[in-house]
Every structure is written in structure tokens, then in C-alpha cells.
């Protein structure tokens, strides 16, 4: 069954305490290659049947209204993945 993936990230100008905690921990584990980390969300929406333009529009709409909080987050990606 096809899925629509929606990626949501904290807006770049907004503090991301989660990413901050991770970037602080990485070097202690020997991972020194990363200068910044941001943590967002990935949603996988399952569609029964074919992904029509209308369904994709629904997903985009849901991404902007329910899946993200437009005050602090951006939807960075909405795409179809065949399973």
C-alpha cells in the first residue's frame, strides 16, 4: 500500500531544545562530525488504493493544519512512497 511521508521540522529561527540536547551528547559518544542537530517529526500516512492528486492535496492540507504547528514548525516535505 502506498504511503505519503510528511516531514515537519522546527522553524530554523526557533530554539530546538531537543536538537540542542542531542548535539551536546554526540561528542561524548565520539561522534564529533556534527556542528548542529535539529529534531523534527516524520509522519507516514497510509493510503488504501491509489494516491490521487486530491488525496495528495488532503495530505498537504493535513500537514499544514494538524501535523504541524505553523507558529513554530515548517512542513519541509510531502511525498509519496510506494511500499
Amino acid at each position: 500500500m502506498p504511503r505519503i511521508v510528511v516531514d515537519v521540522m522546527p522553524k530554523p529561527e526557533i530554539l530546538d531544545p531537543q536538537g540542542k540536547a542531542i548535539v551536546g551528547a554526540l561528542p561524548r559518544l565520539g561522534f564529533t562530525a556534527f556542528s548542529a542537530v535539529r529534531q523534527g517529526k516524520r509522519f507516514e500516512l497510509t493510503v488504501d488504493g491509489e494516491v490521487t492528486e486530491e488525496i495528495l492535496a488532503q495530505a498537504r492540507n493535513a500537514a499544514e493544519t494538524l501535523l504541524s504547528n505553523p507558529v513554530i514548525e515548517d512542513v519541509v516535505n510531502v511525498e509519496v512512497v510506494e511500499a
Partner: protein, 252 residues
Amino acid sequence: MTELPLIGGTADAPGPGTLTGARIGVITFPGTLDDRDAARAVRLAGATPVALWHADTTLGDVDAVVIPGGFSYGDYLRAGAIARFAPLMSVIIDAANSDARLPVLGICNGFQILTESHLLPGSMIKNDHLKFMCRDQILRVENTTTAWTRDYAAGQEITVPLKNQDGQYLADEKTLDALEAEGRVVFRYVGFNPNGSRRDIAGISNAAGNVVGLMPHPEHAVETGFGPELGSSTDGLGFFTSVLNKIVGDNK
């Protein structure tokens, strides 16, 4: 002054407990919240609390360790995920697995840290209702042979506070069956499952019984007037007297 000064660390506590021989470490990570409370419980049980710091690389001469509740490093990634890699955790993991079988109790965030460390199987995810929940919770003690439960009667029901956001215990069916078969389900929620945990599991132990983890907070049920209003309100004290009696017994 209070025995655990509000200002200052546990190291400033005046005088040791009554059974000065038994020293129980309480570890503090950045973001740990219930460390003072755990130290108070240790003291009220008659042992001496010893403050441990996450960045330490040795345990000193403690006879047991409590990993208390809180939000270590904020717990933004996954509860316990970052704390598991603290320097002192590797020492604790080794000591728990060594022949000496150091008794280790993980409460709430401590339990999450123990599963992230693989000292205990399974993991915790968000409560099924997705909210933080604070309530007085009845538990049944299912195994009274562990280092932390020997002072309870088999099947005894105790009331201790529960307070968490990521308390839903899960493991695959095979693991759950094995835990049941080996008697390693140490506590079960009674009457109400507050978070959707599989098989009403509130706490488990490792095979040897020295490592125990649970989501509810026995250290908040050790003093009349400051714990749950149901039950005896000091139902949690048995955790700390259990390990104390074990230490004293082993040392004899």
C-alpha cells in the same frame, strides 16, 4: 537544618543513617529530579545515602545504587537515551553484571535508563492517552525474592505515586512470556492500567534479581503526610529496607 538541605547537595546531609554500614548511592544526572527524595527514602529506611554524579568514573564503596526519576538531559530524544551513555552508567552496568551483583533500582526515568542500557529488557513509549499522569497507584508485588522486594509479602498490594509521560512498557511477546515464566514481572498495576503497559506490567527485574526497575515512585511513599492518601502512605519504604536487609545479611 533539614537532613537534606534545600540549598546544597546530598553530601551536606548531617550525620549518617542508623545503619551506618550500609551505603546506598543515588545518582544525579543533569535533569534528575527525584534524587533528594530517593536519598531521603534511603535515610528513612536506616541507611546512608551517598550522592553520585553522572560524570564520575568510579562508584566508591556503595553497596547499592538508586537511579532516580526525572528528565535526564531533558529526555527530549527518548527517555533515558542520553543518560545511558553517562560515564557512571558504564560502571554501574559492569557492577550490576559482575559476580558481586550490585543491587540497582531504577525508578521512572531510572527504569527508562535501565532499559536503554539493556540491563532490563523492553522499553517505554508514551502513555496510551498521551498525557502526563500523576496519581496514587495500586501495585501488586509479584516477586518477593529480588534485592528490592524481600520485605514485602508475595501478592501484597501497595499504593505508591505514579507520575510520568512515557510510562507505557512494551516488549515483544517472546520477551514478555519469558519474563512471566521466570517470575521477573515484579510489579503489576492493579485496578487501573494508567498507561497501556503490556500485561499491566509496572516493574521488572533482571534474571539475577539484583536489578529492578519500575515506573511508579516508591520513594514518594515513605513518610506519613507526604505521600499517597490511600493505603498506609509509607508502602514504598519496603524497597529500601529490603535492600538494606540484604546488604546487612550479605555482610554478616
